[in-house]
């Protein structure tokens, strides 16, 4: 049906969140040093990603940091052609889920491979990145 008249609200709203990371700060600090770590419960040994200070399995709050290493295996992937508004202009990009030894799975951008050539089972390497003025992040790179 045809467009009907509307009143454009004149009070746009911008939301910017300050997301607390104090309990998992080590993850972000390690990422800046190029290491990819996560939490392991000191009580039951459960390893979680994303890192979390309180264990979802036994509810214990004692934990240690473990290094997940760099190597992972591609579990599944996609290539995003239509990006969200806040990613406008960043063009098509790939996203994959990689599995580390021990079974921890991580979702991240996937680089170094064409969508048509990517296959579950492909070998990946995780890399820490940080851009000037931006937050540190991580990507999978196909080996």
């Amino acid at each position: 049906m045809s467009e009907q008249p509307s009143l454009h609200s004149s009070r746009p709203l911008t939301l910017r969140f300050d997301i607390p990371i104090s309990k998992t700060r080590e993850f972000w600090d390690s990422l800046r040093d190029g290491k990819f770590v996560t939490t392991k419960c000191s009580e039951c040994g459960n390893v979680t990603f994303p890192p979390q200070a309180d264990c979802p399995r036994c509810m214990g709050s004692e934990f240690e940091w473990v290094d997940l290493g760099r190597e992972a295996t591609l579990v599944t992937f996609t290539s995003v052609q239509v990006a969200p508004a806040s990613f406008a202009g960043s063009g098509p990009y790939m996203i994959g889920i990689g599995e580390f030894r021990g079974g921890v799975k991580v979702l991240a951008r996937l680089e170094g491979i064409e969508p048509k050539k990517a296959r579950p089972g492909a070998k990946l390497r995780i890399e820490a990145r940080s851009e000037k003025g931006g937050n540190p992040y991580y990507v999978f790179v196909a080996c």
Binding site: T76, F77, T78, V80, Q81, V82, P84, A85, R109, P120
Partner: protein, 386 residues
């Protein structure tokens, strides 16, 4: 514990509804449902409004909707279970009757998704899940989440892009027979395969549209239902479950475990099995989602959804017709309205009022499968004529 019946149904036209605001849109289905039930609004002591919101201007939609429809004073709440908010509203309304709190309750689902521009809608849905760990740095989108499942299903079971296209073609065929559907045009497999990729391997015609719409159902106790209606449709089973916010924490990407659990609970409560169901609505926000639903609901074994599809068993006349209202794909997917819309469709089918889309009834049982997010929430509701 009283049995609970659906005694009134209402459904707005779905589509890009620039002619109505959220209150006006909800009113269309509320009025129809109240009239259909023949109930006095004063008897409705609980109004549950399922909506996700944030793409329209109102922050307290339940009270806005109630005020517009003259229902202020009733107990009310807005409930959110992403794209399953409608089923969550139905469940909350159902609970208020089962608990003995009220004899009549109203579940309303409403969503107004086109008041913001499309990239903003894509942004809002993409943020749903684990914002910090799967959106902030990566730019996940809703199609991208389901694409992760599609790639995995194709890799494991040999599912093809043509199989997925077939689901879209089926949806449009029935959508063309539903005057309330957003898209009422038939399409071809070639048209689906030739449409632009949104998140590989999913294309534009594998995806449901952004939709404005509302649906409403009036629920009542057994005593009241029998007074109000000659054809009460009974809620025989409700199962609901959830899964992790982070997709990285899922064990596999070939099915939705929350839906498997929800279905198991619903079948068990209703004391029926998948083979007893005459007609189902499945949550086909993307074509791959309907295919996984066949398997998750036990209509076939894991990995055999494509066989069921290729044989035409999910069409009218097949073993288990699915989404003969056009599904989310062609009917449209106004997020919070969808679960209620599905209950409206199954009620019509079980009453024998679905016209050209009527499926043959054997046991008089229908099923609503409504998923929130990418299997983050799942609700399965089983309705019965007896």
């Amino acid at each position: 514990m009283s049995r609970v019946a659906i005694v009134g149904i209402g459904h707005s036209r779905f589509g890009r509804r620039t002619d109505v605001n959220v209150g006006e849109l909800a009113f269309e289905s509320i009025k129809e449902a109240v009239d259909d039930a023949g109930v006095d609004r004063k008897e409705i002591k609980n109004v549950v409004v399922g909506t996700m919101g944030s793409w329209y201007e109102e922050l307290l939609p339940a009270v806005v909707v109630n005020e517009y429809a003259g229902l202020s004073g009733a107990g009310t709440m807005r409930v959110e279970a992403a794209c399953a908010s409608g089923s969550a509203a139905l469940k909350a309304a159902y609970n208020s009757i089962v608990s003995g709190e009220t004899d009549v309750a109203l579940a309303v689902g409403v969503e107004k998704m086109t008041e913001v521009d499309s990239p903003t809608s894509v942004e809002l849905i993409g943020r749903a899940g684990s914002y910090m760990w799967e959106f902030e740095n990566f730019g996940m989108t809703f199609p991208a989440y389901y694409a992760l499942y599609a790639v995995s299903h194709m890799n494991r079971y040999g599912t093809t892009e043509e199989d997925l296209a077939r689901i879209s073609v089926k949806a449009h065929r029935y959508g063309a027979m539903n005057p309330l559907a957003q898209f009422q045009k038939e399409i071809t497999i070639e048209k689906v395969l030739g449409s632009p990729v949104v998140a590989w391997p999913l294309k534009l015609y594998d995806a449901c549209p952004l939709t404005d719409g509302s649906a409403a159902v009036v629920l009542a106790t057994e005593d009241v239902a029998k007074k109000l209606s000659d054809t009460p449709i009974w809620i025989k089973g409700v199962g609901y479950s959830s899964d992790t916010a982070n997709l990285g924490r899922r064990s596999n990407y070939v099915g939705l475990e929350a839906a498997v659990r929800a279905a198991g609970r619903a079948y068990s409560m209703a004391k029926v099995s998948p083979g007893d169901i005459d007609v189902a609505t499945a949550h086909d926000c993307f074509t791959i989602a309907e295919l996984m639903a066949y398997e998750d609901l036990g209509f076939c074994r894991k990995g055999e959804g494509t066989k069921l599809l290729r044989e035409g068993q999910t069409e009218i006349g097949g073993k288990i017709p699915v989404n003969v209202d056009g599904g989310l794909k062609a009917k449209g997917h106004p997020v919070g309205a969808t679960g209620v819309s599905m209950a409206v469709e199954i009620t019509k089918q079980l009453r024998g009022e679905a016209g050209r889309r009527q499926v043959p009834l054997r046991k008089g049982l229908g099923l609503v499968h409504n998923v929130g997010g990418t299997g983050h929430y799942a609700y399965v509701t089983i309705l019965s004529r007896s």
